[in-house]
Symmetry: D3
Subunit: 288 residues, 6 copies
């Protein structure tokens, strides 16, 4: 018969490892399934009838009313979880954390109409951008770009409420499902479109204007990471590109550093860009 007592004892000796986390009683832990469900409810409220249960004409307000209550309840708990997780050993009091979480959850709910407005511009942009798209509904239902942008816009709204951890978890959900990795800190204008999308990376301090279109494999990344005198990385520096309005970046292009890409610019596929590009430029690879 096997006997694993020695192995179990070693693994239980936490003096040897930082890779554990002790929960605070009465405080939920950040939960991927809960956040996935939260985002699903957001979708069912923002795009009623496309996600979640069928919706009938007369029933819309009830559907949305229940959805809003439900997502408020879920996200309050996850905000608590995120705040407590970030406080770690500095955690003070359950009721204080709970109140902070609820205040921000309320503000998130109140921001939903605005969220829907900007997402509507994205749907139209995605539709206009793809000759294969037959109608807006198809974009809402099937397009991974739309999926990732929705997660990003929800996460960004939460990021602006200063909730730690949760926004990143929400964009990672979309990253896993679509291969599109948008940092919730990025600032992205309306009418944003991503086609195919696998491999897209948008960094935390990137700024994108309106009517920007990205194709698969595009990186808007950092060029280098300045270090503190002690060798650790300097945090919080603006280190990702700024794209103007009506910018198109084709497949697998890489734009690195705090460069400015002017309005109405096209960056060709596979390009490697680390300098500013003036407005109106069409930059292309010399194909072989």
């Amino acid at each position: 018969m096997h006997n694993f007592d020695q192995t179990i004892s070693t693994l239980s000796d936490i003096s040897q490892s930082e890779l554990h986390h002790f929960g605070i009683e009465g405080i939920p832990f950040p939960s991927v399934p809960e956040l996935r469900e939260f985002v699903d409810i957001c979708r069912s409220v923002l795009f009623p009838g496309y996600y979640g249960k069928n919706v009938v004409t007369g029933g819309l307000q009830y559907h949305i009313g229940v959805g809003v209550e439900h997502l408020y309840e879920k996200i309050s708990k996850q905000f608590m979880a995120g705040i407590a997780f970030a406080q770690g050993d500095d955690f003070v009091e359950r009721e204080v954390v709970r109140d902070a979480a609820k205040r921000r959850a309320k503000r998130f709910v109140e921001a939903l109409p605005e969220l829907r407005e900007i997402l509507a511009t994205d749907v139209v942009a995605m539709y206009r951008n793809d000759p294969a798209a037959n109608n807006l509904g198809e974009v809402i239902l099937c397009y991974p770009g739309m999926h990732a942008i929705t997660n990003y816009r929800i996460a960004h709204a939460i990021y602006q409420l200063d909730v730690p951890l949760i926004p990143r978890m929400i964009t990672e959900l979309a990253h896993s499902e679509t291969g599109i990795d948008i940092h919730p800190g990025a600032t992205i204008g309306p009418s944003f479109a991503i086609d195919h999308g696998t491999g897209v990376v948008i960094g935390a301090t990137a700024i994108l204007g309106h009517h920007v279109t990205l194709y698969q494999g595009v990186t808007l990344g950092a060029k280098n990471f300045p270090q503190e005198p002690d060798g650790s990385l300097v945090k919080g520096i603006a280190r990702h590109p700024i794209l103007g309005n009506h910018v198109v970046v084709y497949a697998n292009a890489t734009i690195l550093g705090r460069v400015h890409i002017g309005d109405n610019t096209t960056i060709g596929g596979n390009l490697w860009v680390t300098h500013d590009v003036p407005a109106g430029t069409k930059l292309f690879y010399n194909a072989k």
Copy 2:
């Protein structure tokens, strides 16, 4: 206490938004989980014993008989859903849609043996192509390329039956799981292989011969999108590459536009190709 009545009321005011969908009573809505289950049943019928329940020698016909009935039932409903979704406000009559859906579902079922034949060539191609593969079963079970090709071939068969929306949803399932994005409209010959596969994109009008092999990150895309006089994109133009037989395209190469890549051609990794390539060419990057 929070009160979200104002927010709910705004979100329920559909005069301000096109982002909703009212169901037609008695007509199912296109469903990702249903389609996922449908594809799983297809797999269990096409590769019995590899997917779904264990299969015993004497029980094969029963297993397949039940699988076929089951997938017919599921796909009939989803075909109804897709047809009604595409008709939108032009929707006329439930029984007409139902009959159309069932006729096509029947034809799909009858095409299964043919589907299995071509998939068998893909399995062999994938196996031959990878020195790390130990047997055909490993390819069927583990290879994301095989997974994506199976979804594509099922979706393409449905695409040829003129069912809207559903084929795209089926290839997007594989896109999400494998990072391989094959449009169901693409035409792909037998003995097709994809290795690793993350980031592969194959456009709607691409045509691939037999014995084509693609590596991760390969794009077979459009070069540009001609516009109608009113600025909208022209739909339905042949705009993606044609690859001959025995063509290999290495990692991260990009082939754009209605170019012809001749038989027995090799396109090296990271290349950017927007012109025709004659048969027999070995095109490589000048490595640094």
Copy 3:
């Protein structure tokens, strides 16, 4: 009424196809959901409190004790499944396979403390590497690179126990979730970091030193596949790169063949490398 008897009969005629698998009674079949659960339990044991149920201070040993028993039971079955699958028609005796599986499962469990030690170095490396990371916990919870490396290290430990099929299935799980494709046969030193990660490919015979960092889209692949006289591929050749210590490879770079990349080397983004690179080199693309 439809009648599919002809189709069913054709599909049941296995004389026409190799795409089926008959189970051996009393031997489990390799199962993706079982392996996913196995990896989840490993995570809950290696990072207690981050995955699985909440853990309280006094309860750690019980939590780990149950987790270890549970994963031992699950992996024993999957090892049986993998060994029997590989034996195929050469399968001899259930009890022999069972014993072999259990011996290896026992050795896997005993290797868990070592696994945790090396994973701890990876967590720290990932944290140090990303200016956006706030603490180690965030890396453990959210970072797809960490997710993929954990699967790889588990799979590699199993690979070293000569269990067929199962290691590959475990890394494919991570491949599907993160777009990061690491072959379980690769040898990777401690303090390994992957950022963003979508599209990363690391081949079966690659060897990486300690403190290696990879960005999204990096391929460490084979350059060509020597053939046997009969046209089949030669198996088992060392055909992937060797990277030294403190090597950084930026986004979308491709390194092919059995080349040596020396210590303290930096390979710039989008580069195509098929030759050795001496230690200390900083190789960069000439940006346009």
Copy 4:
């Protein structure tokens, strides 16, 4: 290896058995899980906050609105199922059945406020009747009598709409959960109470006034079953007891046949009653 072909073939020979049912395409089959869910939604609408999700003050109307839509949708399908099942081979047309089902489902929904009113009297009666009850909520949450009466009242409302099969399935759900077997055809006035309840049987043509209380094991049954000349049972005869108002029947008493039990009567435990009992009687067993 076992071979069950002969057994399977015998079991598939339906010429030998009536014990099978072929579905009508597009018509759902009566479903116990669907009906269980339907009754649960009814409970969540009739007793909001006690069943189903938590309800907040401002959210009540949304909760009920969604519940009502949801139960309407579910019960329409089950009404279709019941009507088609009863028609059997006389089934004519899907759309006719669908319309009939929807009309009745609509009438059921409109009867919900009335249902709630009468159930409110039952809750109060159960509470008053039990010295161990602490509040109305406890009765709603825990009392099997309340559970069975709710199912009965729902089923009876459906029975009055002439929907076949479904009412009986709904009371059988409660029978299985509580041991209380009330035929949906019985007529029962308000303020009805059952305590403990296991073994209670109330026949199809029984009539109970208001403020009736029954204890466990009470049977209100038929005394005999007149036969037609051909030996089959005569259907539809009034064959069960009539109980007046304010009648109490103690544990395990049996009342059989179309007898009249007058107002304000008490029937003692274990009694066997097959004759009329005048109003105001206190009938008791001579205990040993």
Copy 5:
């Protein structure tokens, strides 16, 4: 913080208690959910179209073929579990137990057609017996008596194969769902009917002829339990009643001991019978 180490330690000290069971590796444990699923599959095979998935005309043989394979697989495992459980410390060898289990499972499958034949007589008897029944299908779908008899007949067939424990678990499933408690050892002829049924108890050595009908609360029990000289109960004595053919026992009657109730006898409700009753008797209570 709580600390339960002392409690856990006490509960883990098995020297103080017999209430634990250590599993034998590779031997399944008797499982209520598995047996519930097994009985459900039996129902779907014996009454195709009434239970489990919808069945279409042409699909019957496939449906039954898969059902039979599936139930064989499940019951083989549970037979193993039951045999090993009964052997306890005398357990010898896994493969021996496995073979014994599979032989009996095979015989059970082969007995299914016979089971269906006798169940068909029960369905007809239940239908004839109840003036409220509208058709055979209603009896199959809704009647708890039919439910309990089906479980009993399945369990009895297994009991006759000398499988320990499992038959009792199967009748207890029905006991819990219907309140009808039939010991799997009882011998019951065809055309058996139970109406309402809550509280019915039929002992292990009872023998019932054909066309027997029981109502709710009927006990066919033992009168006394002879003891061995050491005070323990004598096992295996015939101690329950024998009922002839065409016997009816009304609600809550109790028949105890090895008494003979002759053919064509009627036992009235609430009666207490401990002596033989000659054929043709109509025994009734003197109602008050």
Copy 6:
């Protein structure tokens, strides 16, 4: 199209009904599924290896350790729920309720060893009592009497901690599953046995000595309910029987009121007892 706005509006008008419950934010609601899971975990801790996962020799302490933590966590929440539910509008403060709940949950956990001791006597009593029982394990696994007694003993321990509502919900779980209705307030000595059990009722103030055995349908109930001057029932009166040690009550006997049944007494089946019975009496029905 249907429009249910009027119905919804009526149902939402809570001024007309008391049948609703508004949750307190951050306080869980009493949950049947949570309590069912709680009782299952208790079983897996009290009878390790019989319920829940398989247990191996060396793993017992881990199994029990995790079980104890898990049930503590679950029952703390349900105690909160029960306390808050009982306070209703008098609810004061979340943290006070939480602390009260946790203190009692801790005491419940500490009582588990004692619970196991008394349950062990019940198992033996049930085994000794039934000539059909083959071993203790069979009693633990299959006997509904054992199931109901376990729920009762757990519920009674909680009842003694002054937690409202929850104990009753736990005994009602068993009532639904077994037809045995034991009020959690009843006092029952060790070595208690119930055979068959359907229809057994034991009232809130009943007191049973050790070695008491009950058969199906036995009621230990109240004889009458004294009223307050205002017509409401007097609460809290001792109104149920007291049974001495070594008392046996056969099937369907009814004992009502605060009567004393002396030691070593046997009450025959179907009897109706409302007076004291001296020790050593054998009371039997005069069978016809």
